[in-house]
């Protein structure tokens, strides 16, 4: 059976099915989801490289990537990539002192451009689909000492290197409402993921989603929406989502491919025993 390899951040691997799971289900493909919560583009590119150079991708396999936001620094801890999200929202590792000393828009621009371009240069012909969960160059900063827009140095660099960026779909409305209309979380829910696949991913592949797939994931969405009272502890929502899915939709839960989640469970994270 051919394999679908998907890469990205929490928009690709989350506590409920994402576009990646929907595509794998619809195409009836074996699925290896290398998406990881909090992952940046440097980490995503490294994972794509790992899969291509180490595991090897067959001609009939499929590779898809949803690039992440640009303000992330990816690091490995012990045996796994750790997704820490934006440097601006992680005081435990970074914080004001670190940001003052090491953060610069230019650094962000060069690293993201370099790694996204490298993946396209190396594996562009193998990428069946790529999109971006955020606008390129978007500044996620909430750091009061950094202006909201990119500084002049970074803008100058974009003039020189911006042309290297592939033209992709930018999922700009991914987070514009609460997940399932009631959660204290704005990650795109199943409805939004289904919409992305239907309106963006599949048309670019010349495919149409099966009726059965639409029905299944629409039902999953609806059951999450209806279970508002179940999700009454906002802090526990990720765990509750998993619990809910496992109980209510065991076959969908299995699709999340937890053996390859590379989350805190520490399971064989970069593929060697």
């Amino acid at each position: 059976m051919n394999t679908l390899y998907t890469f990205g951040c929490s928009f690709t691997q989350y506590h409920w099915p994402t576009w990646a799971n929907i595509v794998a289900y619809d195409l009836k493909m074996k699925h290896k989801n290398y998406g990881q919560v909090g992952m940046g583009n440097f980490g995503i590119a490294n994972r794509i490289l790992e899969v291509n150079e180490r595991i090897g991708v067959d001609a009939d396999d499929m590779l898809m990537v949803l690039w992440s936001s640009w303000d992330r620094e990816d690091r490995l801890k012990q045996k796994q990539w750790r997704g820490e999200g934006s440097v601006f929202s992680n005081d435990e590792i970074y914080g004001t002192k670190w940001l003052r000393r090491f953060y610069d828009d230019s650094d962000k621009v060069m690293k993201n451009v370099f790694w996204i371009h490298s993946v396209n240069k190396l594996y562009g012909n193998k990428l069946n689909w790529q999109g971006s969960g955020f606008d390129y160059y978007r500044n996620d900063t909430f750091f009061e000492e950094t202006p909201a827009g990119l500084n002049q140095d970074a803008q100058d660099l974009i003039k020189t290197y911006g042309h290297l960026m592939p033209e992709v779909y930018h999922w700009l409305n991914a987070e514009n409402r609460n997940s399932f209309y009631h959660m204290a979380d704005s990650h795109p829910d199943v409805e939004k993921h289904l919409q992305l696949v239907k309106d963006v991913v599949y048309p670019s592949l010349g495919k149409t989603l099966k009726k059965e797939t639409i029905e299944l994931f629409t039902e999953v969405q609806k059951s999450f929406e209806d279970a508002k009272s179940f999700f009454n502890k906002p802090d526990d929502e990720p765990q509750l989502s998993i619990k809910f899915l496992k109980r209510k939709w065991p076959e969908v839960y299995k699709m999340l491919d937890r053996s390859d989640l590379h989350l805190a469970d520490g399971t064989n994270p970069i593929g060697i025993d």
Binding site: N46, L49, E50, E53, R54, R75, L76, K77, Q78, K79, I93, W98, F102, D104, S106, D107, M110, K111, F114, H117, S118, K121, L122, D153, D156, L157, K159, T160, Y161, L164, I270, I272
Partner: protein
């Protein structure tokens, strides 16, 4: 041969001509040195792409790379790379205790080197590593070796990447760190004579190149000794003056540094 592009850390671009400059003099071709003091291997990879963007590599161009220590983390501040060197000199111990892991540097360095080789393999004339031991800059004994419980994992990681890693020579430049450059300077970087001995092993040099390099070395050493110069700042001015005045057609032509900020639109 078309143009020559060289990449690496301070062992490639420094206050005096390095192996890269000597190679350029020998090849007598258009030459661009993207070496940068303190840069790491991820930064070196990024600089190769930068050069490609700025100069639009052709099949006739050649690239030479001197990879550096693995324990560096590259940052661009403003218009250029920060010459930070090892992360052990950059981050405090408390931060390192929580955030430094060998897996991080093994994966990032391996991927950067492999990606560069996949992208530019046809243009790479030569590549080597300045350090015999990739992790030698650790310095801080607390982090100087793999912890027992991780040793097996880290070694497996290195072995795993080794399949795709290019096979290159370890130059061992760090050995020159045991002496004063030009026998007088308060600096332990390899001097011109050390570089000549290295580049002579990399590519067969013309006798003319060897002669003029030794001549330059002698002139620099003699001047520094006469002026009792021990400080780098003063030495750099003296050396630049010698190169620009007396080696106009050779080293002066191949002496410039390519900054990130140069040639941007």
């Amino acid at each position: 041969m078309g143009r020559l592009f060289t990449f690496g850390c301070s062992f490639t671009y420094y206050a005096w001509p390095t192996w890269a400059n000597i190679a350029a003099v020998d090849k007598n071709c258009e030459f661009y040195n993207f070496g940068m003091a303190g840069i790491g291997n991820v930064g070196i990879s990024q600089r190769i792409l930068e050069a490609d963007c700025k100069f639009n590599f052709t099949k006739d161009d050649k690239i030479m790379i001197m990879w550096t220590s693995w324990t560096r983390e590259d940052k661009i501040i403003g218009y250029d790379y920060e010459a930070g060197g090892s992360i052990f000199g950059k981050y405090p111990t408390a931060w390192l205790k929580n955030n430094f892991h060998y897996a991080d540097i093994i994966v990032k360095n391996s991927n950067a080197i492999i990606a560069t080789n996949q992208m530019y393999k046809d243009l790479i004339l030569w590549q080597g590593a300045a350090f015999k031991n990739d992790f030698m800059e650790v310095g801080n004994t607390e982090f100087s070796s793999f912890k027992d419980y991780d040793k097996e994992f880290y070694n497996s990681l290195i072995k795993m990447y080794d399949v795709k890693m290019p096979k290159y020579e370890f130059i061992g430049f760090e050995e020159s760190g045991n002496k004063f450059s030009f026998d007088c300077l308060n600096d332990s970087h390899p001097d011109i004579l050390d570089h000549l001995s290295i580049v002579n092993k990399i590519i067969p040099l013309k006798q003319k190149t060897k002669d003029i390099t030794v001549e330059l070395y002698n002139e620099v050493k003699q001047t520094l000794t006469l002026k009792k110069c021990t400080r780098m700042e003063k030495a750099q001015k003296i050396i630049t003056n010698i190169v620009n005045s007396n080696y106009k057609d050779t080293f002066a032509k191949a002496y410039s540094y390519e900054a990130l900020s140069s040639r941007i639109t």
